[in-house]
């Protein structure tokens, strides 16, 4: 198939950027979206042009590196990551707009590559259970009800790609933060740091310059791992509870 691509090109963080148009031909429906971009880049290199920079690594939908807004949708039209999106989702002759994640907290590094270290800093501020190596009790010492374990898992599936922020009209990181808060706070192991975790993570989230939540629901729609919108309400509840109770640690 033959496609017209309009791609955001930006030399580096400080340079101005613009949408640039490329034609690509001979695209197979079995290609992944990134393989389609590989095809474009091979040609650009041979033409002596700068290939399009984009983040990618595992190409099997789990590392969370890939991050393209395709025709206005984070990760494109299917509910999956960009690397698992295949060209069969497009038709011959289509024009496709490709842009980076847009958020103040995700500055562009080059072309379609953005800096998501703000996510790491949110985790650093409390997205863990303090258990130094070697200090763990026997694994079966604390049974966890299956429902709680499943609930924790559902939230733990987050791959930290940032699609929630990219899709949110406010550039909010509530779904990302909520996923980690819920994962750890529902487990008995996470209980001792329950209050400080949610207070600190939310404070960092705000300090990083993400927007607030207006419950538009776009984050959960874009999430390739299906982190559900009610996770946000659950985090709000944890946060309000923590402000009432105060931190224990």
């Amino acid at each position: 198939m033959r496609l017209t691509l309009r791609v955001w090109r930006q030399r580096d963080a400080g340079a101005p950027g613009a949408m640039t148009t490329y034609e690509v031909d001979g695209i197979s429906a079995d290609m992944s979206f990134l393989e389609m971009l590989d095809t474009l880049n091979e040609r650009l290199i041979l033409d002596g042009e700068d290939p399009v920079a984009f983040d990618h690594d595992c190409r099997e939908g789990i590392c969370g590196a890939c991050s393209l807004v395709i025709n206005g949708d984070a990760h494109g039209p299917e509910r999956t990551t960009t690397c698992q999106l295949h060209m069969r989702s497009f038709a011959d002759g289509d024009t496709i707009d490709i842009e980076p994640w847009r958020a103040a907290a995700f500055p562009v590094v080059k072309d379609l590559v953005v800096d998501r270290s703000s996510f790491d800093r949110i985790i650093q501020s409390g997205g863990y259970i303090s258990v130094p190596t070697g200090s763990a009790p026997e694994a079966h010492a604390t049974p966890v009800p299956k429902a709680d374990a499943d609930h924790a898992f559902e939230n733990a599936e987050c791959i930290g790609c940032g699609a929630c922020v990219a899709a949110c009209p406010n550039g909010s990181a509530m779904l990302f933060t909520a996923a980690k808060v819920n994962h750890l706070n529902v487990l008995p192991q996470g209980a001792p740091e329950r209050e400080s975790r949610v207070l600190d993570m939310v404070a960092t989230m705000d300090a990083e310059g993400f927007g607030g939540c207006t419950l538009a629901g776009e984050c959960a729609t874009a999430c390739p791992k299906g982190i559900p919108l009610p996770s946000i309400a659950a985090m709000n509840k944890e946060w309000l509870r923590a402000t009432r109770k105060g931190r224990r640690s």
Binding site: R102, G212, N236, L240
Partner: protein, 234 residues
Amino acid sequence: MVLATRSDREPSLPRTLWGSTIGKKAVMAVSGLIMLGYLVAHVAGNLKVFFGPEEFNGYAHWLRTIGAPVLHDEWMLWIVRVVLLASIVAHAVSAYQLSRRDIKARPVKYAHKRARASYATRTMRWGGVIIGLFVVWHLLDLTTLTVNPNAQPGRPYENVVATFSTWYGNVIYIVAMLAVGLHVRHGFWSAAQTLGAGNAARDRLLKTLANGLALALTAGFIAVPVAVMTGLVS
């Protein structure tokens, strides 16, 4: 690098609330729910217009004497007014600050626009502004009577009929009430999420409740101008 580290001294509760996006949302949610409660009472009172001028004007007079003889004349009315004013201010200021923040969080917009992305957000923001402007007009019209065509103190029934006998009165009112409906529809559900009352099992119930409230309020409020226009109330 911005890092929220654990500090020894805890900030006060109001400070924590006002300093956080979630806290500000909670302020919006609570103030919104207070105003929603007021609207429910307001629409119930409005519907008394269908029982004629005596009953409607009597009801309006009673509003000034609630709590008597413990409370002096109009005291209750002023208490309600103060609470409402505080709610409006808290609601509007937090909405303004949060919106500013939201806009700043995406300095560069997407080139490929999508319609649905900001539907709810936009209705809330612009709906809020419309409702705010309406409240000003509404107070000038039926409280201070500054712009009311009839402007007879103590005769609210006649004043209402006079307002809805003008085309612009109807237009302003109906547009505002539609905005109220949309605002309540997303706002009520949203408040429930913000206050942590939402979960997957309860989501359908909350959405139904939000839709029901929005519909009942809008229909109840619009019933009055429609009745005046059709001559049912005159």
